[in-house]
Symmetry: C2
Subunit: 110 residues, 2 copies
C-alpha cells in the first residue's frame, strides 16, 4: 500500500503525526533551527545554509508550510519565511503533558 490510514485515528493523533512527520527530516529540522536563529522574515538565503540543491530546499519548505510549521509571504524579490509559533506551542504542550504523566505514575514500568 504505502498510504497512511488516517481515518481510523483521532484528529489530534493525526495532527501530531502530521507535525512530527514534517520534522522527520534533518533538513527540515535545520530549516526550523535556522529560522529561529535569524528570527527574521527577510531570510532569502536558506538555500545557502543547506547542503541541498535549490529545488530540494524549496520542496522541504513547502512541506513545512503545508504542515503549518512555517508561514511564507512574498517580499519583493525573495520570500519571507518564518516560524508559526502556534504549532510549536502546541508541541510544547503535548510533550509537556506526556512528561507530566510519566512523572506522576512512574515506577510500574521496566
Amino acid at each position: 500500500m504505502g498510504a497512511t490510514n488516517t481515518e481510523h485515528f483521532t484528529d489530534k493523533q493525526n495532527l501530531i503525526a502530521t507535525i512530527a512527520k514534517a520534522l522527520g527530516h534533518p533538513a527540515r529540522v535545520a530549516i526550523i533551527e535556522y529560522l529561529l536563529k535569524v528570527n527574521s522574515c527577510i531570510c532569502g538565503d536558506i538555500v545557502n545554509e543547506l547542503p541541498l540543491a535549490q529545488p530540494t530546499v524549496s520542496q522541504h519548505l513547502k512541506e513545512l508550510k503545508n504542515a503549518g510549521l512555517i508561514k511564507g509571504e512574498i517580499e519583493g524579490n525573495s520570500i519571507c519565511y518564518c516560524i508559526d509559533e502556534k504549532v510549536f506551542k502546541k508541541l510544547q504542550a503535548y510533550f509537556g503533558n506526556i512528561a507530566t504523566k510519566m512523572e506522576i505514575k512512574k515506577s510500574n514500568c521496566c
Copy 2:
C-alpha cells in the same frame, strides 16, 4: 533518490528528525498514547487497540523501538512494551527551548 542525506547535518538534528519521524504516523502516536494510558509493561493487547492488522502493528512497534521511543522485553508469552522516558524528556526540552526563544525575540516576524 529517496534516501535521506544524514551526513550533512548535525547529530542533534538527525536525532530530532529520527524521533519526529517515528512519531510521524498516527498509529504510532496512538501506540504511545495507549502505553501512556495503561502505564504498564504487561500490555499484550496493543493489536486490539488499533485498527490495523497484527503484522502492521508489530512493524510500527519495531520502528518505535528502533527510534528509541519505547522499550520492549519478553515477558513470558507476551511482550512488555513501555515508553522510554528519556526521549520524551529530550523532546520536551527541545520544544520548550524553541518556545522560549520565540518568546524572547518575538515581534520582528510576519
